[in-house]
Symmetry: C2
Subunit: 360 residues, 2 copies
């Protein structure tokens, strides 16, 4: 098979746009990150938000991952149903707890959930009571990202004490997501919390760091037991821009047809914001066209990708199929119902994105 | 039922984030636009890309719409299966034609498709031959939007001649999508094309204008037979900013829970880019929080909406459920599998978003 025949086959059997992953690259990415964690003596707990596919999660575990990370309970439900039992959900699951779904899942697996506030803990305690089973909780700590997570060791310790005192809750540990520059601050934060936990008679069995760009820092936090990274399995333009992936490490591309060339310096792709998303990731242009790297995807309508071809010598024709490496791969996967798996230029499988669109 | 009990019910039965539409507002929006088209003596052909729900398309037709507009063949397949037979697809459907799906749909309904180039026409002709049925084609004309569409009357006439000469293709008419300022240019373009068509012995039975902001211009193009608008059924912050909708015309809101308040001036919603999308529509902030209009949704992670509460006097607490009117409603609907339909504060139905995520 050649690339040209692969394009023809995908256009005929699936149509475009189509989201395609190269399993040879996926295999390499999985192996490289597992080796990196092994070398740092830190367990690997990949974040499945990037792929949302049980088969790929099983591949990560088979390669040595301890378990998986999910961001929403609905994702954990899908993965648990596929036989994965060691799951961390790195989110304040207030709605999932109040709607009874955390209770239902806790009856089937002993997952670990997250909190940065007492309201979330109270919702977890109610879910535990209804499940008639303890729920394990890790405390999310913020050391500079300004997203979720308590801002001070004192707040972390207050929550740890509350978990200890609340029937139905078990303290599991601490979650960090350091920024590029906040590793020293994270160490200081962590050391203070550890001292306080000892005084409370608590043990942080789980100490998790996160992020694909942070893979260069795995093991840097003394006391870390695990790392959770997601994007590395596919990579994208953002990972390339962050210097943690090369083009040959990008496993996913969107096959898309040029459907209009109304002007000499412009064109339209049949992949718009409904496929590639408006998430620019802070980069210029909305994707890298492998066949025309000088072309710029300058914007979107829902079904139209706007091409600026001014800097292209060889310009695509109407009907051409091109491959786009997206800026942010996780959000692209969430747009589609299936990933077409290839090895080289041969289609070998089709994976339903089973955990797509799980809001709760 | 009160708003508070509705929030509690939605949190319990569906969880958050949840996408909710108020059918009383939907009814008013449908009736208002139908009346507007009736008054202008232009047929109404709503674009279903906004709602992607067959029941809502049937409501539009029951109110007087001639048929519907779709943007992709996959959407037309869903609507045809739901019993809607008068469908215009306003897109160069190259991939759908080459994959055999246009042929399959043509065997069930006599849809009208679109083209702005000969490659698309050639793909349609092959689909027609395979279907053993003529395919009706409208020519997409660009008068300033710089998306798809031929740029000159001469190109339009060359395509019309090609359609006339190509076995299997039937000329149906012309599609326009004028910008705010290009209506006079559109009239000039259209008059030139009409004269040329007469010389070719062709009749443009379909002359379609488009856009919800353009509803103020319905009937402005002499010779227009139809208008296609989508967003008006729900409206959003972009329509409000364009001056064509008021807040009380916005039928859709996202119910979302405040899950973290790690700092006094910031907070996190459980609706991130996976629900509200990174499509800002060029506006400041990513949605209007009805309970806290001074709050600013300043950005997203996939599952986190970042709240800037600096300008809020009354700040939301963790666990509060708030309603967000999105910037761009069409892209939000495409993220979710169901819309929860209410009247006032009572849940009356749940609509699967049956045409969600149709790429081809």
């Amino acid at each position: 098979m050649t690339l040209a025949t692969l394009k023809t086959q995908i256009a005929r059997d699936f149509g475009t746009p189509a989201v395609v992953i190269d399993l040879d690259v996926v295999d390499r990415n999985i192996a490289r990150v597992q080796a990196l964690c092994d070398a740092a003596k830190v367990a690997n707990r990949p974040h499945i938000k990037t792929h949302k596919v049980p088969t790929l999660a099983h591949m990560q575990i088979a390669a040595g991952a301890r378990g998986i990370t999910c961001q929403k309970l609905g994702e954990a439900e899908v993965m648990a149903a596929a036989g994965i039992s060691d799951i961390l959900v790195s989110y304040n699951l207030i709605s999932a707890a109040r709607s009874g779904r955390l209770t239902a899942l806790r009856k089937t697996i002993d997952l670990t959930v997250c909190a940065d506030n007492p309201v979330t803990l109270s919702a977890y305690a109610e879910a535990a009571a209804q499940a008639e089973a303890d729920i394990g909780v890790a405390i999310e700590c913020d050391t500079g990202r300004m997203r979720a997570g308590v801002e001070t060791p004192g707040e972390a310790l207050a929550l740890a004490r509350l978990i200890k005192e609340t029937p139905g809750l078990t303290f599991r540990g601490l979650l960090y997501y350091p920024t590029e520059t906040s590793w020293p601050a994270t160490q200081k934060f962590h050391d203070e919390v550890l001292a306080g936990l000892r005084a409370l008679g608590l043990d942080a069995a789980l100490v998790s760091t996160g992020g694909s760009p942070n893979l260069v820092n795995v093991g840097k936090l003394a006391g870390a037991s695990e790392h959770r990274a997601g994007t590395y399995i596919f990579n994208d333009r953002m990972q390339m821009a962050a210097g943690v992936a090369r083009l040959e490490d990008c496993a996913l591309s969107v096959f898309t047809t040029v459907v209009s060339r109304a002007g000499p310096e412009r064109g339209i792709l049949d992949a718009g914001s409904k496929t590639l998303t408006a998430d620019s990731g802070g980069l210029d242009g909305y994707g890298l066209i492998l066949e025309h790297p000088e072309a710029r995807i300058k914007g979107f309508a829902e079904e139209h990708g706007f091409l600026d071809l001014a800097k292209c010598n060889a310009r695509p024709s109407v009907g051409d199929i091109v491959r786009v490496v997206p800026n942010h791969v996780c959000v692209v996967v969430n747009m589609v119902d299936q990933l077409i798996a290839v090895r080289g230029h041969t289609v070998v499988d089709v994976y339903p994105v089973a955990a797509r669109g799980k809001l709760v």
